[in-house]
């Protein structure tokens, strides 16, 4: 069970003073069964005028704040130490056939299934499209166990799409990614989400970090020391299983979870609306260090 220290700093420099700004951060630590935060701190500079913390419908801690004095830069820094474990995945062939999962969520009868159903339909960044469903159906053959099919889908996305930074815009729709067959982790995740949701299967967008190894002959995992995104699907009787289509692996003890939602739009790590400011430059630096 590795322990990581994560430093994540975002700095905006503005060419003109910003008169006031409002921000929303999805970067507060979220504890999940396989992950415990040992410490966490946030620095915001300049000091926020108003700061509110709340839980969103997905269970993430959201920090909303405003800076109501003139400022020419804005710095947001988080430092956290987290203990992460891998979770034993279910045995693929012992999971429920996917059609039954969809049926189960059609009319949920428990909190758990109602929560899962929230991730089973189209969302703003993952709209329904016929070609996406056809692509998904190649793996989701009739009566196939959900995890078995989902794993294969992940591998196909990994194989079919080329990791290409700058090839897509933020929030490209699944069918665009499928057409272009390239993108970054966000796109890989959105494509997988679009595929599973087209069958009304639950699939979450998970935002977080990935620990990568120094390159000693080993292939360096993509997304190195940056924020990362992958997906999670609900397997009845087992719970949520994380899959990382960018790297063709299951979410394990190198995937550190920040927040999840239906798609990127729900969990954008840091967004804001500024008044004034002219042009801006943005610098983001992320370090994920293995402590022990």
């Amino acid at each position: 069970m590795p322990i990581y220290q994560i430093d994540h700093e975002t700095v905006y420099d503005y060419s003109l003073p910003v008169l006031y700004s409002n921000h929303l951060a999805h970067m507060l630590p979220r504890s999940v069964s396989r992950q415990t935060w040992l410490s966490h701190s946030i620095e915001v500079d300049p000091n926020p005028t108003i700061q509110q913390e709340r839980l969103d419908i997905y269970g993430n801690k959201v920090l909303a704040f405003s800076i109501e004095q003139e400022h020419k830069y804005f710095r947001f820094k988080t430092t956290g130490i987290v203990d992460v474990q891998a979770k034993e995945p279910p045995k693929p062939n012992e999971t429920m056939p996917w059609e039954q999962v969809a049926k189960l969520l059609e009319r949920p009868t428990s909190e758990e299934t109602l929560d899962a159903a929230m991730y089973a339909y189209a969302s703003p960044f993952a709209k329904f499209e016929e070609s996406v469903r056809n692509y998904a159906l190649e793996s989701f053959e009739p009566n196939r166990p959900i995890f078995d099919a989902a794993y294969e889908l992940m591998t196909r996305i990994y194989t079919d799409c080329k990791y290409t930074p700058g090839a897509t815009r933020i929030g490209a729709q699944p069918q665009e990614i499928l057409r272009g067959r390239k993108g970054v982790c966000q796109d890989f995740a959105h494509l997988m989400i679009g595929c599973m949701r087209s069958l009304h299967l639950p699939c979450r967008y998970v935002s977080g970090y990935l620990h990568t190894h120094p390159c000693e002959g080993q292939p360096k995992l993509v997304g190195a020391d940056a924020t990362h995104a992958w997906v999670s699907t609900y397997v009845p009787g087992h719970g949520w299983v994380e899959l990382d289509p960018t790297n063709n692996v299951l979410g394990g003890d190198e995937h550190i979870v920040l927040a999840w939602g239906r798609d990127f739009g729900d969990v954008s790590p840091l967004k804001g609306v500024i008044t004034g400011g002219g042009e801006h430059t943005l610098k983001v630096s992320v370090n994920v260090d293995l402590k022990e």
Binding site: T10, N22, I57, E106
Partner: protein
């Protein structure tokens, strides 16, 4: 009493009128909607109010009222469950798709409590009467119900046309409903702010281009609350404020007329520019009340319909009183099979609004489609059946209507001549009835009346609800039991409104001068000997923008027409006139009805018919008389508060600048030829509106010194520059923060004094001197004056009117943007 009987009572009385009398009354009716036409100036379409109201007996009303009120309570309870416990779903009563496939389910307001626990303050329910006499609900409008203002306007019109019938039939009044709506809004912010704070209720309207805007102005004025737009709002310290000339004023309740998704670009749609950044945070903190509450759009999905009886039982413990048209959600396979077995009996609709557009869902009547279209529709539905519902086609009863309700409604049938009870002709038309209800903490009230909608482009109807007992008079205008202390304050003028008035003032002066110059040109060009008029080139240069001139240098007549008439000429007169009309629309809640009328029709009467410069003259005269009428009405009807002041500032600044420019164009050179000189002096006096005064003072002899004096520095001449500046200075003294002690002067005042002193001290003889036929000193003075006055306009804008630049969205973090 059945509907048919009440309708007959009304029709009998109407038929007793002669055709002439009836048409006379219709004109009375249409005077009102035409004046107040809510759509024409926005969309160009013409709304027509049918003179025949829909009449509902008191018995029938009891049923309808109970049904509409119950739906209002039901939807409020449903919203509470959706954004709270979601108990209906946890118990497995409803499909998950109803919430999670619905793009109007607003995740960000989940678990946020509205003030007073009310989610749905105002509702509108559309009802039709079937041929068997029963009522059926066809749609509910629950986030920004439209039509309330139109219902009010139709009532004013129709009751004006048939006042004696309106009274003798004991028609229920609408005013009490608006009072209840207003009480509810007041109650909400009292709930938040306890007591002691005089917070405001405002109506948040969408932009001036929104077709709903005109109606919003009517509602705001009727309720007596300020109409604000996004630019009027500022969120500071978790409070919402209105930007006014007197600073920021806290807002207690927002009666929003803006769709859910458009209220806050931080948490909702990134392109949502109609609310305020951070609005949701303040709502969440409980610092502002908002009606209807955010997220109520989710309730409008027709997909709820098949489940409403069960929801009603579950949440209210009651049977649903007012039933919906039979509706089936196609996401349920068994139900879908039943529908497809008899497709031609159903109408297919999308279950949800398209997330991208706010367009209403389109409906497709299967039996009216071609077979190819039918196939395509079935394919689309099969792809995503949970996105579709089917509604059973219904046999809707018709009502009497006066005008031919267009080919749209084919079910209409003309009455046979034997049925005609007079020479008046009536037709039968299908009409929807929209009823409004308001939920307050203590009650649910239904408006006794409503809006009859006969279909797109066909027309609207007033709805009369008859009372069993005599109807009490009630008016919002005279709240009883509350003494009002007389006050001279002009209230809190929002900065945006002040800016609009300032721009309106400038445009009015600009249009006036443009029309005078154009008239000067047109008069000359209508003379056959215009080729011999030496002053013409100067006037053309003064009047026509460079673009108009350069387009047609050899053809002054066409250049003039291009300047006066062409909308695409951005320096032309039509652009200014269009802006005046637009500003009138935006200022509708702040100016008198008469003034608004003139602004709405500004410069559109007497459009020239034929070719030739002479044909322009009646039109230019009409523009000038519009301008005089507006000035007169404003002077008569506006109190001398800030509204008036900003209008005046704009008018005087523009008028001074335009007069200076006129003098410069016509008098900066002194042609050697005496004839030309005289004709130029004549022209400048004529266009500068000083000819009469000059002749009275100096007789017929034209000389340059008295002409310049009259137009530039004579403070007794209301058209002179000095007069404008003196007036400007007087008005500016009353601006907020500008009335400093005698000892110090504000920057604005200093600038004004300098300009005025310069004019007063100017030596006119010297100004008239020429060097190489040029009046150098005059040119210099005019240039300095023009730039000084432009600076004054800038100071006014900066001090009072400038809005902070628009907010923009930044997405800090996309993955892999970092280069470590």
């Amino acid at each position: 009493m059945k509907y048919v009987e009440t309708e007959n009572t009304f029709m009998k009385s109407i038929s007793a009128l002669s055709k002439v009398e009836f048409e006379h009354r219709c004109r009375r009716l249409h005077n009102v909607p035409d004046e107040n036409d809510l759509s024409s100036s926005m969309s160009g379409s013409h709304k027509s109010t049918d003179p025949i109201p829909l009449v509902i007996s008191s018995d029938e009303w009891k049923t309808l009222e109970a049904g509409v009120a119950q739906r209002a309570r039901l939807f409020n309870a449903l919203a509470k469950d959706i954004y709270g416990e979601q108990s209906l779903w946890k118990k497995g009563k409803l499909p998950a798709a109803l919430l999670f496939a619905n793009p109007d389910f607003l995740q960000v307001v989940w678990k946020v409590q509205p003030a007073g626990g009310i989610f749905v303050n105002l509702t509108a329910t559309d009802v039709v009467r079937l041929k068997d006499g029963s009522f059926v609900a066809v749609a509910d409008h629950l986030q920004v119900p439209e039509g309330l203002g139109r219902a009010l306007e139709n009532r004013i019109g129709v009751s004006r046309a048939f006042p004696e019938l309106f009274r003798s039939m004991r028609t229920e009044r609408l005013a009490i409903f608006f009072k209840k709506l207003m009480d509810g809004l007041n109650e909400m912010h009292n709930d938040i702010h306890k007591k002691g704070e005089s917070d405001k209720v405002v109506l948040l309207a969408s932009g001036p281009d929104n077709p709903r805007r005109a109606e919003d102005a009517v509602i705001a004025r009727y309720l007596g609350i300020p109409l604000v737009e996004n630019d009027d709002l500022a969120v500071r310290n978790l409070q919402v404020y209105m930007k006014t000339l007197m600073g920021l004023k806290k807002i207690g309740t927002i009666f929003r007329r803006v769709e859910d998704g458009m209220c806050d670009p931080l948490e909702l749609r990134v392109d949502s520019g109609e609310g305020a950044v951070g609005l949701i945070s303040t709502v969440r903190a409980g610092n502002v009340a908002i009606a209807n509450f955010l997220g109520t759009g989710v309730l409008e999905s027709p997909m709820f319909k098949p489940f409403l009886p069960e929801i009603c039982k579950e949440l209210l413990g009651e049977e649903l009183l007012l039933r919906d048209a039979e509706t089936v959600w196609l996401g349920n396979k068994e139900d879908a099979k039943r529908v497809f077995a008899e497709s031609d009996k159903w109408i297919f609709k999308k279950a949800f609004r398209d997330a991208e557009s706010s367009k209403a869902t389109e409906s497709k009547s299967y039996s009216l489609m071609t077979s190819t279209a039918q196939l395509a529709l079935m394919q689309t539905i099969e792809d995503a059946p949970e996105q579709w519902i089917a509604e059973r086609a219904m046999e809707v009863a018709t009502v009497y209507a006066y005008r031919d309700p267009s080919p749209l409604s084919r079910s209409e049938s003309r009455l046979s001549s034997s049925e005609k009870s007079s020479s008046l002709e009536f037709t039968q038309a299908v009409s929807l009835m929209r009823f409004f209800a308001v939920n307050t903490k203590t009650e649910t009230a239904v408006m006794p009346g409503g809006l009859g909608i006969m279909g797109k482009g066909v027309g609207e109807k007033d709805i009369w609800v008859l009372s069993e007992s005599p109807v009490a008079n009630f008016s919002l205008l005279a709240p009883a039991g509350q003494a009002i202390t007389p006050s001279r304050a002009s209230g809190n003028l929002p900065s945006r409104a002040a800016e609009n008035l300032f721009r309106l003032g400038r445009d009015l002066s600009a249009s006036n001068m443009m029309a005078r110059i154009a008239r000067g040109i047109a008069v000359r060009l209508s003379d056959e000997s215009w080729m011999d008029m030496p002053e013409l080139p100067w006037i053309l240069k003064a009047g026509l923008s460079d673009e108009s001139q350069s387009r047609l240098p050899q053809d002054p007549e066409n250049a003039l027409r291009y300047f006066v008439l062409r909308k695409e000429n951005k320096d032309g007169m039509q652009c200014v006139l269009t802006e005046i009309r637009d500003l009138g629309m935006q200022l509708r809640d702040r100016i008198s009805e008469d003034l608004w009328l003139y602004l709405n029709g500004f410069g559109i009467a007497e459009m020239p018919a034929g070719p030739g410069a002479a044909a322009l003259l009646p039109y230019l005269k009409a523009v000038l008389s519009d301008s005089a009428a507006v000035a007169g009405l404003a002077a008569d009807s506006m109190t001398r508060g800030h509204e008036w002041r900003f209008l005046e500032l704009g008018r005087e600044i523009e008028s001074a600048i335009r007069t200076l420019q006129l003098i410069k164009s016509l008098l900066s050179t002194a042609p050697a030829d005496e004839m030309t000189n005289l004709r130029l002096l004549q022209a400048v006096l004529e266009i500068g509106d000083g000819l009469m005064t000059y002749h009275r003072r100096y007789g017929g002899r034209l000389q340059v010194v008295p002409v310049i004096d009259l137009l530039l520095s004579d403070e007794s001449n209301p058209r002179s520059v000095a007069y404008q500046i003196a007036k400007l200075r007087k008005a500016s003294k009353h601006l907020p923060g500008n009335n400093q002690s005698e000892a110090t002067f504000s920057p604005l005042d200093r600038e004004l004094m300098r300009v005025l002193a310069e004019l007063r001290l100017a030596n006119i003889e010297q100004l008239a001197e020429t060097v190489n036929n040029n009046r150098e000193k005059l040119i210099k003075l005019l240039d300095v004056q023009i730039s000084s006055i432009e600076r004054i306009a800038e100071i006014v804008t900066r001090l009072y009117l400038s809005h902070a630049p628009r907010a923009g969205v930044i997405h800090a973090t996309t993955t892999n943007m970092s280069e470590v």
